[in-house]
Symmetry: D2
Subunit: 364 residues, 4 copies
């Protein structure tokens, strides 16, 4: 086909909104023509907000639309695998939100089906497109830091809004599953995708124990081939709005990038204002508002890239294979959190339905 | 016409490069099809770098190209007026770099000719598009700061690269002319374009006296209708790379936005790397690299907007009239720097060939 | 005499509290043995808080105490001169809070009486002792910045607590009188006390017009011998707690020092806590708490130094002569604010009772 | 005894210099009267610099000085225990630099001998006195952060100057031994000294493998009773000068304190200047100079406190018992680094001569 890539979105909440907004911000390669969500009114609301012409309540119906070439999944984690398979079988390219799925079996099948159907499986890891982080990688790749031996990424806030995140049946885990996947992917990508040797993880539920069985704070240490370490810190228990930062240490230098406090407009307001930043509790008093939040995260650039991949103009730089690597680390991380010991990779547990079970409810 | 707006650039140096890069970064509304520069090889080099198909050594020849709808001026200040008039008379829309021109007579004629020819005179004040500053204005407009009584803007570095900036015959003045125009426009725009009552200015040549007759450091205080003040600080004598920042004070709050130290990745490098920031002296040791510099200044957004104006999709938000207001303040500022006293507006000096003459070489 | 210097404090409010606390923090050279305040209960409260043994309701009685060698004045500005003269005539050394007085006639008399009585007139400009600012001066004096051409100091908050500051009869002026005196002294001291050539000042009452006739926002530009400029910005209209910062620009470098946002512990608190910083509005939400505030301002170091001067161990580095220089600039600043023009120094207006009158109520 | 506490220092290098300077900065409780160092000329140099009247080349001779009441140990780690025992047996109070010693057997004996001899064993953990960190603890203790669940401390630079640190025979370990001890003590103290349940540690030698067998980068996770975690990060491989920071996370808030980049005067210097900060590589270009470094670390306050303890005016807040707790964690940390698994406490390995052996050369 020619012209703009026609896109369908599955989902209507936070992530779907980000996707729809992102396609609008960089409109030259793609356009959203349909949205599917089972909850009455939700898809309609998104469609109205972004001028999306077609609305579906069953995403399978949307897959029947001939002109749609790419479908994005912004649905709870446990649905990623079955949806991906359906989309691929309908002959359409897939953009799957993070984390890729629940199990390695699912990951393998997702990759396999897409390959067989000749469609792309693109993994929506926006940190590969975050401009400030990309600059850090460019400097490191230019040799600014010498040999890099430690990459840190941290993402913290006070917990997600949507209910399904708190229900480990649907999410597969807590903050490590939700946001740890970003940091794992980030360290792996930053270092040039070396083999991961081991995973060490510490986690706990400190604040939200009444609301979830999932962990709300975690730290994960990755050993990579080539004598490098990754460190991933996450929290759903950090007050004060979103925090997202990296630190990169090399033999010859160090760089720090902070997406929020390090980019914001320190502001005091007696009266408040519209919007400060994702998950911010208030806009009165001192706040750290950010600007062009989606762009600074790289969402529009990411979706733009995926559309170009569909047209063959780019090669995907965030793929199902990346998601599968992350998935293995997630599983190993929960296992490590239970045993208190390093888990060597490859790690392929059997009979696991969701990652968090390795920590909370290990198989007998 | 339909399709993308075809653009011709006059100039081949720093500003022309920014323009060409900007059109590439947001390619959906416009494309650069020609570049004109009198210096042998310069236009060719830019054309090669950005894939611009047509090259001219006399911009007047370029104006004969029928399909070109918009021409941008990235030439020394003293050429802005004659070029604008030529472009307008050729029936093409004009994008004029800052400052608008040398005298109010020129400003009036530029505006007049464009109006008569039915073309747009768009004034390239990128701070109206700088995302971080736009966020500050949004918050202020939402009432976050209550009644705003003081807006500050400052832009400082260690001096421009191109020769003509240092030659007041061609530039019309030093740093106040070069960068003060940004701050004046910014305060005026931020406050909603109120009438400017008076201008007070202090300036001096502290560091570069052997190289220029122009001032290399200035501070300017503007009184606006509605009991608000603007404060504009500029320097060509500030070491350490570019600095660009605003502060906005209201009865109900305050906000600070810093485009460089407040957005950067604090980095230490033993070995150095490709690029830190405009005018940065070095990339070894500690530096403050920025990311996506053009986007963070708003250049692509600005050019994108101007192309949309040509197509009638937007109304210009930075016009020749804005440039004329700035021009009057520039003239008043140099006058104030000489007398050491506030200059009331309107101020229309006669017989002035360039703004700086009011400070250095006043008419007898 | 030998042993610790015995000190009497005149005053019992904010400044007196700072002084009493400061003597306790560096106790090896001095001890506060008496406090005098006319308001019933006030002196007693301070005495109780700091274990001060003697309390007076008329400071003149306190001056009769033989063992007291040094008296500090923490009283409204209009009392500085008569109190200084009384203290000197009682044969005791004087520490006078800033600004020195109301008129140049008073300044001259204060200096003269102290000289004749053989006592020290020490001027409590704590910025000469502020450790972070002292570091800036040390670097500059070591040549780090090359020739310094611009020194900026700014102090801003939302207005003082004590009533007398708002009453220009007792204070002599608004924020320029209250805090501008700090910045004037700072620039003068930082540059090595060069002759001041001219003063240019812009001020207004933007927020607190119902409460005071004084200005609540001001900017002042000083021209110094040796081609250097000072810039002093002050506000009683800046929300969000105290702000105190400097910027120093030299031909060879630049340094920034921020006492609050640049020293604080960025903190989010849902529940609040004891104390964030002077003039802070709240301790919930995001705040910028500082630590060891008095020490970071240099108050204990200042009082310690003054006590050492009394013992002949140090030479005073902040004197009545410094205060007189500041006083002349204050007067010139209000004059400039009225005329909108630079005032050349020396400036000795006649018949002026308080500095602000030159701006608000000039003599006919 | 009365009057100032007379102090003898063992050592003459970096730490001894800090101690001598610290006693001078707060001189009202103690004075250094002697210094002992075996290297010819070293003790003399320190004595000259700080006006210390007596010099010894064998610290045992210094212990014969009757008037000395307190002796500070600024010697390599492996000498801490024998020196402490000698000092105690000479009837003098001990200030021992961190870490306390090499083994738990030594720790027990040091504590025991001091108790039997009736002298104080004070442990020189300056972070208990670091003003900015103390402010964080005050806020947390006031409830600002609600229940604290995570305390992080990090200290990083590019490696120590003195040779013995690199020789694990004398140091007992690398950066985890050298600086990890600070973070362990800090988390323990911040949380109110709860029981430590387990230790998890990851370390490696990334940059200085040619110079040392010790690790040059480490991260350590502590589990405390009461559902709280400590995280300690250290490096001898971080370029750009000293870095020391904490982060504290509670259910109700978060606070960040950065002693260097968060306190400094961002400075650009073309010419350089005297001193920026501990371990800084250069003073040209951009640097982060700090001010009053010793005071901001709390060294003078610490020594002042120890002298007051000798006089019975204070109770020691950093004791041999604290050092013993840290020592156990150090041992457990090296064990964990070897096994890759959590080590439960209490942990009392036998036959260990130095902590690092548990990682590098475990007993067969």
């Amino acid at each position: 086909m020619a012209g703009k890539v026609k896109v369908g979105i599955i989902g209507s909440q936070f992530e779907a909104d980000i996707q729809a907004a992102s396609f609008q911000l960089m409109p030259d390669e793609a356009e959203v023509v349909a949205v599917a969500s089972p909850t009455r009114g939700h898809a309609e609301a998104l469609a109205t907000k972004y001028g999306i012409p077609r609305v579906f309540h069953d995403y399978r119906e949307m897959l029947g639309e001939k002109d749609i070439e790419m479908v994005t999944i912004a649905a709870p984690n446990y649905l990623h695998a079955p949806m991906t398979i359906d989309i691929a079988n309908a002959g359409k390219h897939v953009v799957c939100e993070k984390p890729l799925c629940m199990t390695l079996e699912e990951a393998d099948e997702m990759i396999d089906v897409c390959r067989r159907q000749g469609v792309l499986l693109m993994y929506a890891e926006e940190l590969f497109f975050t401009p400030k982080y990309v600059k850090a990688k460019q400097m490191a790749d230019e040799g600014a830091l010498g040999k890099v031996y430690l990459v840190k990424q941290s993402e913290k806030h006070f917990g997600p809004h949507a209910d399904w995140f708190w229900d480990v049946e649907r999410s597969g885990g807590g903050v490590f599953m939700d946001m740890g996947c970003h940091g794992i992917a980030f360290c792996y990508w930053f270092l040039g995708r070396p083999k991961i040797k081991s995973v060490l993880c510490h986690m706990g539920t400190y604040v939200h124990g009444e609301r979830t069985q999932g962990e709300d704070d975690s730290v994960c240490i990755l050993e990579f081939d080539g004598n490098a370490t990754g460190m991933v810190e996450n929290s759903w228990a950090r007050r004060g709005g979103m925090d997202d930062r990296i630190e990169v240490f090399g033999e010859g230098g160090v760089t720090y990038a902070n997406l929020h406090m390090g980019n914001a407009l320190p502001t005091f307001s007696k009266y408040g204002y519209g919007y400060a930043v994702e998950k911010a509790p208030d806009t009165k008093g001192w706040t750290w508002p950010v600007f062009e939040e989606l762009w600074n995260y790289g969402f529009p650039q990411e979706m733009h890239h995926f559309a170009r991949c569909v047209r063959g103009k780019d090669e995907p730089i965030a793929t199902g294979e990346d998601g599968r690597v992350v998935q293995e680390v997630l599983l190993a991380g929960y296992e490590s959190a239970r045993t208190g010991a390093k888990v060597e990779l490859p790690f392929r547990p059997t009979g696991v339905k969701r990652p968090i079970d390795l920590w909370r409810n290990p198989a007998p």
